[in-house]
Amino acid sequence: MKSTKFTPERNISKAETDRKWWEIGDFFRRNSLWLLMYCTGCCAIELPPAMTSAYDMERLGMGPMATPRQADILLVSGYLSLKTLRRLIYTYEQMSEPRYVVALGSCPINGGIYHDSHAVINQLDQYVPVDVYVAGCMPNTEAVMNGFVDLMEQIKNKSANGWKKYHDNYEWYRQNQIQSLGEVDVHDEFHD
């Protein structure tokens, strides 16, 4: 629209408006993080106290969700075997964007006590981008909560960009996945 005397020229670019909207969205997203709990290993035992009256995750607006489509955070709690990793990648790809990954325990960081196992992978962030690692074997509940608050801070600082990274470096992630797993999408006699 041509500007007249009474309507001053609006010089906010589209990128700028998008950024504004994104920041508003970030406010909602960080205050309402829904978890998909992929209880892969022993660290899952730290989640009940985090959810119930001891630490009460819900006061941060967090809660468990049933399916990946609904969830924001993919919570990997503990070691990941090769079989689980396939399902994890599949689940991660099903989540709606923006999506974040929080990994608990030392196993997803460097393999932990399973660092020399043929069945357990060593570093999760080689396959899917991880936004927050919570170290410890197992991390206590305060640390888990701290991890979530860290994620909220990252979202606020716009540094929780794992899902964008996954888009940008998809080839690299894909290559790592294939190196470890062969083809991610497996066929078996029960589901064909």
Partner: protein, 303 residues
Amino acid sequence: MSITILNFLIGLGIAFFGFVLQTSIAGLNRKIVGRLQKRVGPRWYQEFLDIFKLLSKRATSHGWIFDFGVIMALGGIIATAMFMPLTSTFNAFGTYDNFFIFVYLLAVGMLGMAMSASGSGNPWASIGVMRALTTMLAYEVPFMIIILTIIKIAGSSLTGIQLYQQAAGNNWFLIALPLGGIVGFISLMGMLGKKPFETYIAPAEIASGPMVEYGGKQLGMLFIMHEITVFIEVSLFVHLFLGGATNIFIFILKYFLVYTLANLISNVNGRFKIDQVVTFFYKWPLILAIVQAFIAIYLGWVI
């Protein structure tokens, strides 16, 4: 009366008001439940945050019926809410607030959602829809028998029913038809999908049933739809059994009490199996409803 665009805007305002009211009260109820379980609980506006977050996300779609069903669901529910009177003097479409509109226009929304869920191609969604429909078959019949009694006494316009209860010498139908009040409340629990009758959501069992494939904006729209549906159902109870309201504050108060009571009851209950839901509703609530209808219609004992 003549219908102008103003009526539509008022109706839309009522739907929006219902959404805001129910979402706030649902948030408050989450806080209350949190306190009940010795937790801090979320902020009272948490439900708003959840919904707007969902709207801000990028969703996945399984084809046109998946989207169309969601639009039809939300549209049907908004349309239903537009007919809802808030008080005995304020509603959008005058005397056209016929009770049957609420029951059957609500069904359009439900049908839209069921269609969309089945269209996602996920078996859990179909199972959830099956359970939702079966639950509907269970709670609707006792409820409708009580409604028959009320309509027989006071006509089928919701405003008329409110005015009848507010007239001097008449009681609220909760008192005038005590058994009916009980049946109505149990059916309300079924309608709201609260705990003993929560079979069709069952997150741990069938992965939240019809909602299994939704994320992002579709889920957000379904949340909006759900909030408005709850608004319609609880308002129906308020208007039918609690004498409606003469002003908006009384309405909000009654609304809050009914919803909180339902929520508290739901929080100390487990979940029925689906066939238990059916047998439950076709046993005591139906018998009570028939007894109440018989007493009220044939014997004329309306206290």
